[in-house]
């Protein structure tokens, strides 16, 4: 513990006013400046600023400080900032304690400045007590495997894979479906230029296939993940395709298959057999796959493609070592409930993804025919499954805006006008959110004759049938709430995005999710692709609704962060891990049974014989072992019993 005299500097931050508007910072400084060990105590508007940091460094040198307290915001925000500051001044970075007097004092007790001030003083005193017993610690350095696992083979996963591969990093892509490409591959034209969605995907696929450091597993799922940042051990279950080579008679073989189920690659607009063919030009892999969920093993397919189909193929388990994991599992379109705006009640009520699939298939036709009827009038109803209002019951609702839908609808509107002369469109909306340059599409759709009708969120439109037309009944806010009954041939529900069904994966990865069920980033503004789990990154719509361009950007951002981890070749872990005092340990092995991370084993200590040993790379510092050890032989570094005891005693002192 070193017998050198402890010389502590204490810095109380105003946090602009976030703290000082409530907590009397001068009083805090006054109250603690004579605590044992305190040499200098100050307050300042922004300790985290360059000027504040310089103040600390100058003081460390001038007063020969050997420990520093900053009382400011949450340690999540700035503990690291200040550890680096003291390190720059030549101190061990762990001779620092971060007292949180913003979240725990000024914000929590904004209505009681005096109590907030008293609590802040207690926090600072505890910090000083901690440092009185602190000792220099070193980070634990472990090597990092220069490879990255990407979960999800949609546009985001593929883009992240390409970026990382180009940086010289090995990449494994795991896709649950039999073909990569995700939603984008299912879509015809995408905004703003009308490029084909599948073409964007196949361009990326072509690039990826040129590279020798990319491995793509389809029909595959992550089975387990063990280890820690830099050193994950992943096991992957790959389901067989039951196709060992290409068959030339694919048309025939799908015809002989007696199964017909909704085709997921056209959002159920088409039916497919149990043999899933490559769903778009340039699809990867090129081999078809047999869907065992629908196959009845009638073996009729063998009559046509005997040499290609092999039902003896078995599942494979593949083990991988990776340094970082990017989760890019995407979204699923909101599925309206039966009867929601007439969905599934009237055949002429469909969703936007369904319309896009129909349009993709009827590329060359000059008439839009749905359910055998030509569509001359159609209505879009916006915000279906998005921006929902709480209803008081426990139904899961989506309060968020799905971001892409206004843009996608506006683009679709333009395409419809261009392709089907004389078509009339009614856009029944709440707010048109064609942000940025997307505004130009809104402007164009208006000019081409789209009629916009704004509805009140508390009085949504109703859809019912009258003779051979559907009627959309809505009070239009733009025309004195006039009640309109719009006769149409087709109603398109502009559905939002929902997070994909990832129950199994979530159990394995334990990534935090936020409101709406999308994966939660560390900080929505400044750390949008990192998660609170070290080494785990998120990309694309798994994090929140985005369009394809925004997904690409988020994928590249995740690639940058993953590269930051693995390119260095090593990872530094915090030193707050358990350690065993071999002199005290009686090898009861209770700790070994208790450790949730399997970090404790038995080791031969020189002079002490066999005792418990903690692997610092696996230990997360949870403290379970400390609590169960019958003889008190285990402690956590940087959080010793002595430190905790003194902090508790100090906190109880009068203010």
């Amino acid at each position: 513990m070193g017998n050198e005299e402890r010389r502590i500097g204490v810095y109380v931050c105003w946090c602009g006013g976030n703290i000082s508007d409530v907590v009397n910072v001068e009083k805090v400084v006054e109250a603690i400046k004579n605590e044992a060990g305190v040499v200098v105590a100050r307050h300042f508007m922004f300790m985290c600023s360059e000027a504040g940091q310089k103040m600390i460094i100058d003081d460390i040198k001038k007063y020969k400080l050997n420990a520093v307290v900053v009382a400011s915001c949450s340690p999540k925000l700035h503990e690291l900032t200040f550890r680096n500051v003291v390190a720059r001044a030549g101190l061990n970075p762990y001779m620092y304690y971060h007292a949180n007097i913003r979240e725990q004092s000024s914000w929590a007790h904004s209505n009681d400045p005096e109590e907030a001030t008293r609590k802040a003083i207690r926090h600072v005193r505890m910090a000083i007590a901690y440092l009185r017993h602190a000792e220099p610690l070193e980070k634990i350095r472990v090597s990092a495997t220069p490879s990255v696992l990407i979960i999800g083979g949609g546009i985001s996963g593929l883009k992240a894979a390409l970026d990382l591969s180009r940086m010289g990093i090995n990449v494994y892509v795991v896709e649950k479906q039999p073909f990569i490409g995700g939603h984008l591959a299912k879509i015809g034209s995408i905004y703003p230029y009308g490029r084909k969605g599948w073409e964007v995907v196949s361009t990326l696929v072509k690039e990826l296939r040129k590279r020798d450091n990319v491995v793509i597993y389809t029909n595959a799922e992550v089975e387990s993940v063990k280890g820690f940042i830099g050193n994950f051990e992943v096991s992957i279950r790959v389901k067989p395709r039951y196709f060992k080579r290409m068959c030339k008679r694919l048309d025939e073989v799908t015809k002989v298959c007696p199964i017909r189920v909704p085709d997921e690659y056209s959002y159920g607009v088409k039916k497919r057999s149990a043999i899933i063919l490559p769903p778009y030009p340039g699809a990867y892999p090129e081999l078809p796959a047999i869907d065992m969920n629908s196959c009845t093993k009638c073996m009729k397919c063998l009559e046509v493609c005997k040499d290609s189909i092999d039902f003896s193929q078995e599942e494979q388990i593949i083990k991988l070592k990776v340094g970082s994991i990017i989760t890019a599992t995407g979204f699923k379109p909101y599925r309206p409930k039966e009867g929601e705006f007439g969905y599934k009640v009237y055949g002429e009520v469909i969703t936007l993804p369904e319309l896009l699939s129909i349009l993709k298939q009827s590329d060359s036709k000059d008439r839009l025919v749905i359910n055998g009827k030509e569509v001359k009038d159609l209505a879009f109803i916006y915000c279906v499954g998005s921006r929902q209002k709480p209803k008081g019951n426990n139904d899961k609702i989506n309060t968020y805006c799905s971001r892409y839908c206004c843009n996608a609808t506006m683009f679709t509107a333009i395409k419809l006008f261009e392709r089907y002369r004389g078509i009339r469109q009614y856009h029944v909306y709440r707010d048109i959110r064609t942000y940025g340059k997307n505004e130009l599409m809104y402007e164009k759709a208006c000019k081409m004759g789209a009629v916009f009708v704004k509805y009140d969120e508390n009085d949504p439109p109703k859809v019912y049938r009258n003779n051979n037309k559907l009627i959309v009944k809505v009070k239009d806010l733009l025309t004195e709430r006039e009640e309109l009954e719009i006769p149409v041939d087709l109603v398109v529900l502009v559905t939002g995005m929902e997070p994909n069904d990832n129950e199994k994966l979530n159990e394995i990865l334990k990534l935090p999710t936020g409101r709406g069920g999308f994966y939660q980033e560390v900080h929505p503004k400044l750390r949008p692709v990192e998660t609170t789990l070290a080494g785990f990154l998120i990309a694309g719509t798994a994090q929140g609704p985005k369009d394809s361009r925004e997904s690409l950007l988020s994928a590249s951002a995740a690639a940058a962060k993953a590269a930051g981890t693995v390119l260095k070749g090593f990872i530094e872990l915090e030193p707050f891990v358990a350690f065993v005092d071999p002199e005290k340990c009686e090898l009861s092995k209770t700790c070994i049974a208790e450790c949730p991370y399997g970090a404790i084993s038995v080791k031969n200590y020189e002079g002490f014989g066999k005792k418990a040993w903690v692997n610092p790379a696996l230990c997360k510092g949870c403290g379970s072992c400390v609590a169960v050890c019958p003889v008190g032989a285990i402690q956590i570094r940087g959080l010793t019993n002595k430190q905790i005891e003194d902090m508790i005693k100090t906190s109880a002192k009068e203010v």
């Binding site: 105003w14 940025g436 400044l526 361009r549 940058a560």
Partner: protein, 449 residues
Amino acid sequence: MGEILERILADAVEEKEEKKYDVLIIGGGIAGEESALDLAEMGFKVLLVEKEPSIGGHMFLLSKVFPTLDCASCISTPRMAAVAHHPNITLMTYSEVKEIEKRGEGDFRVRILKKPRFVEESLCTGCAQCESACPVIVPKEYDFGLRGRKAAYIPFDTAVPKIAVIDIDHCVFCGQCEMVCPVGAINFLQKPKIIKVKVGAIIVATGYKLFPIGRKKEYMYGKLANVITSMQMDRVLAPTRPYNSVLRPLDGKEPMNIAFVLCSGSRDRTVGNPLCSQVCCMYSIKQAQLLMGALPLADITIYYMDIRAFGKGFEEFYQQAKDMGVIFIKGRIAKIEPTENGDIVVHYEDIENGGKLRKAVHDLVVLSVGLLPNPEIAKVFKNVKLELDEYGWIKQKDENISPVETSIPGVFTAGCIIGPKDIPDTVVEAAAAAAHVAAYLNEVRRGGE
């Protein structure tokens, strides 16, 4: 830039030595900082060039940021400090990239003008004694004229680097600063320099310009003191704010009935900007919420066309503002007029209530100004052309596959230089640019081996 400084800059002396870096990042706002830190973490040597005396861009000027209501200084100043201290990042402030020549893939030759601060950077400690001594007061750029600064000044408390600069165009050469400087850092003879560097790749992150709302005559900006821009309002609400309270500029009265005029200079072909600026709805809602905290009795009205709360957590933030009592009126402001006591009359069409033309009186009007492109940087490319789109934003090579690539291989973009966007999108894009630079450099270098 003033005439005198410009004349001085014309005599810049070229340094002989050519320095080498992996990447040049132009612009030290939040985008440039993010790209720089990401690349530095990957092990690349980064040169970050900022034309202002401090890095930080627009973000650190803001009060709090949506939708988390984080204090902008609290989250951006540590980034600025991290940039300044990263061993792989070299920072050049008060410097401008003047010329870029591409010699080949992974080989850009750049000439950078280092403007004289008339203060020796290596000596100045940022004590601000020169600032106290200086007798000259001019409007402060960082507060959009709401208060003054001296001719010898430190840009702001949390500036990085915290080094004084002398505004030579307003200096009266009284010598006071020189007399009080405890370290003798003032040097009126300091010369501008041209620094030559060779870099492998470039990220352009020079941000945006605020829409000059004086162009929309009917909004009376610049004529009526109580018509302010949203950027001024953000300064009024910031912890480092000019009045240390929310007051209206004309008479220092505490406003009780504040109006926000959305789409000021956006979605408006009459002023030449048909695009939506993507951030104004949300920052106005944020300001409205902050004002409700600062002035609990004040009425806040937001006049809007569509509320575009499209990002993660934005819609909920909008609903929260409604629940707090912010009044939202769908209608575009047609005209703004003064009254005798400094209050402001706005004329609008009340679309959702019968479309009548109405007038309302407010005691402070905030124009939620939009974002315009900042295409000047395109001019510095000599033998290669950095293409712009028809509105002046940098053109993306292939938006659907590689949104941060430009018409020049090896030159990438981060942030608002390709279009208006908020901070989360800017940060994502900046990290994406870093990934592309890393990929590009790896390929160019392996190809060259």
